[in-house]
C-alpha cells in the first residue's frame, strides 16, 4: 500500500489520531514519545526494516506510524536515471528539529535504502547515490518533532545501449 494513493485517508486518520493524542496528552494521561521508542530513535541497526519488501512495512518498522506528504520536504531526483546503478538523489527541508531522514524505493526488492540519524546541530539535508531496480517511486521521509513528513517522485530507469 503506497503512501500516495490513499494519502487522503491517511492524513485524515492521522489528524484524528493527532487530535486525540493532544487532547489526551493535555490531560497528561499518556506520554507523547511512545512512537519514539521505535528503531529510528535508538542507535541499533534497523535490521528488520531493511528486509521489508514494501515501503509501508519498512516505515512502520522504522517509525511506527505513517507519513504525510509535505511540500516542506524538497527532494531532488532525476526524471530519467542515467543508470539504475548510480542515481543521485538528495533531500533538503525547512522543517525544524529534524531527527532522522530515510530514503525508500518502492519497486526495489527491499524498499528501504538508507536511514540517516540527524543529531541536533546537523543540517537536515542529505545527498547520496542509490540503486534502482526499475522505474519506481522514490520516497523520502523526514522525521521532525516526532511527526513524519514525506516527498515522492517517480524516476524512470531502463537499460541502455542496443541490448542483447
Amino acid at each position: 500500500m503506497s503512501i500516495t494513493d490513499n494519502g487522503f485517508s491517511a492524513t485524515r486518520r492521522l489528524v484524528l489520531k493527532g487530535a486525540g493524542t493532544v487532547a489526551l496528552a493535555g490531560l497528561g494521561v499518556i506520554s507523547l514519545d511512545l512512537p519514539a521508542a521505535f528503531a529510528a530513535a535508538n542507535d541499533k541497526y534497523p535490521e528488520e526494516a531493511f528486509k521489508q519488501k514494501s515501503e509501508a512495512d519498512a516505515i512502520k518498522l522504522l517509525y511506527g506510524r505513517t507519513a504525510e506528504l509535505s511540500d516542506k520536504v524538497k527532494m531532488d531526483a532525476p526524471e530519467i536515471a542515467e543508470n539504475g546503478a548510480v542515481v543521485p538523489v538528495s533531500v533538503s527541508t525547512t522543517l525544524t528539529d529534524v531527527t532522522s531522514i530515510a530514503f525508500l524505493v518502492s519497486e526495489n526488492p527491499n524498499a528501504l535504502i538508507a536511514s540517516y540519524k540527524i543529531p541536533a546541530g546537523t543540517i537536515p539535508s542529505v545527498a547520496n547515490r542509490i540503486k534502482m531496480a526499475k522505474t519506481s517511486n522514490v520516497i523520502v521521509i523526514v522525521e521532525a518533532g516526532g511527526k513524519l513528513y514525506s516527498a515522492t517522485k517517480e524516476v524512470k530507469v531502463t537499460v541502455g545501449g542496443c541490448g542483447g
Binding site: P78, E82, N83, V86, V159, G163
Partner: protein, 287 residues
C-alpha cells in the same frame, strides 16, 4: 538460436539489398585531406548544436541533455573514478623490479603528454596508442603487460590523462603516405556499417547524437575520446578506449577484434585527429 531469429536475417539481407540499389555510390574525392576533414567535421557539429561551444562536446552525452548534465555535475563533486585515478598515480611512480619506471619510457616523464597520443610511429609504420606504449614500456622492463580493457591499464591512462587535463588534443599526421593511409583506414572503419544491426559508428554518433538508444543518450563523435578513460555506471568500473570499441562492436552484434587491432588503432587515430584543439577532460564519468 530459436528459428524466430530467421526474420532478422531476412530483414538484414533485405535492408542490405535495398541499400545497395537505393543510394548510388558517390564518387568520393580521391585525395585524402585530413585538415579539410577536421574542419568539415567540427563545422557539422557546431552547426547542428549552435548553442554549444566546441569544448563542450568533450562532455559527450552530458553536453546533449540538461537532466543528464545535472546528474553529471552531482557525480563530478566526488567522481567515481577518484579511486582509479589515485591508484594510477601510485602505480605510475612505483619503479619496476629493474628499478626503472614509466617515467623513463615517456617524454616529459609521462606528465601532460596524453594529448599527443595516439601518434604515428614512422619506424614501425603504424599508429601507437597510449595503452600500447604503456604495455611496451612494461615489457621492455621485464614486466608482464596489462589487459587493455581492465582496471590497471585504465588506472594508468586515467592518471596520464589527468595530468593533461585542459590541454588541447594535438594529433599529428606526418608527411608519410602510410600515416595518411592509417588515417584514411580509421575514417573508413568509422563510417562502415557492421554487425547484424548494420550500424556504423556514424549511424549513432553522427546521425543521432543527443537522441536516445533505449535509456542512453548518444554522444557526439566530436570530442568523443577526450574524456578517456571513463568510469561507466553501466560497467560500475573503469574502461579504456579499447573496452569502449569492443563493447560497441558486440552491442551491434559484430564480433570485436583484438583490443589493440590495427583497425582500432587507426580508428582512434582518426577520431583523435578530427577532435584536435578540443581539451583533454579525462578521466571522465559516463552513464
Amino acid at each position: 538460436m530459436k528459428p524466430r531469429s530467421a526474420i532478422p536475417v531476412a530483414s538484414a539481407a533485405l535492408a542490405l539489398a535495398l541499400l545497395a540499389f537505393a543510394t548510388p555510390p558517390v564518387a568520393a574525392a580521391d585525395t585524402v585531406d585530413p585538415a579539410a576533414d577536421a574542419r568539415a567535421f567540427k563545422k557539422f557539429f557546431t552547426d547542428k548544436f549552435p548553442k554549444l561551444k566546441p569544448e563542450d562536446f568533450v562532455n559527450g552525452p552530458y553536453s546533449m541533455n540538461e537532466d543528464l548534465h545535472k546528474q553529471w555535475e552531482e557525480k563530478e563533486q566526488f567522481p567515481p573514478y577518484e579511486f582509479s585515478l589515485e591508484a594510477g598515480k601510485e602505480m605510475f611512480s612505483k619503479p619496476f623490479k629493474n628499478g626503472k619506471s614509466y617515467q623513463d619510457c615517456f617524454p616529459n616523464k609521462g606528465i601532460g603528454i596524453r594529448q599527443n597520443y595516439p601518434y604515428f610511429d614512422e619506424k614501425e609504420g603504424k599508429v601507437v596508442t597510449l595503452e600500447l606504449a604503456l604495455n611496451r614500456c612494461r615489457e621492455a622492463n621485464g614486466e608482464a603487460p596489462f589487459s587493455y580493457v581492465k582496471d590497471d591499464m585504465a588506472a594508468l591512462t586515467a592518471y596520464m590523462a589527468f595530468t593533461s587535463r585542459g590541454k588541447p588534443f594535438d594529433i599529428k599526421i606526418p608527411k608519410d603516405p602510410r600515416a595518411l593511409e592509417a588515417y584514411q583506414k580509421g575514417k573508413e572503419y568509422f563510417y562502415t556499417r557492421r554487425g547484424q544491426l548494420n550500424f556504423s559508428c556514424a549511424t549513432c554518433h553522427i546521425q543521432s547524437p543527443g537522441e536516445r538508444i533505449r535509456a542512453e543518450v548518444l554522444a557526439p563523435a566530436l570530442g568523443i575520446l577526450n574524456a578517456m578513460p571513463i568510469y561507466r555506471s553501466e560497467w560500475s568500473g573503469m574502461g579504456t578506449t579499447s573496452r569502449r570499441f569492443t563493447t560497441c562492436n558486440s552491442q551491434i552484434r559484430g564480433v570485436p577484434l583484438d583490443p589493440q587491432a590495427d583497425e582500432y588503432r587507426d580508428l582512434e587515430y582518426y577520431l583523435s585527429y578530427v577532435s584536435n584543439g578540443l581539451p583533454i577532460s579525462g578521466p571522465g564519468a559516463r552513464p
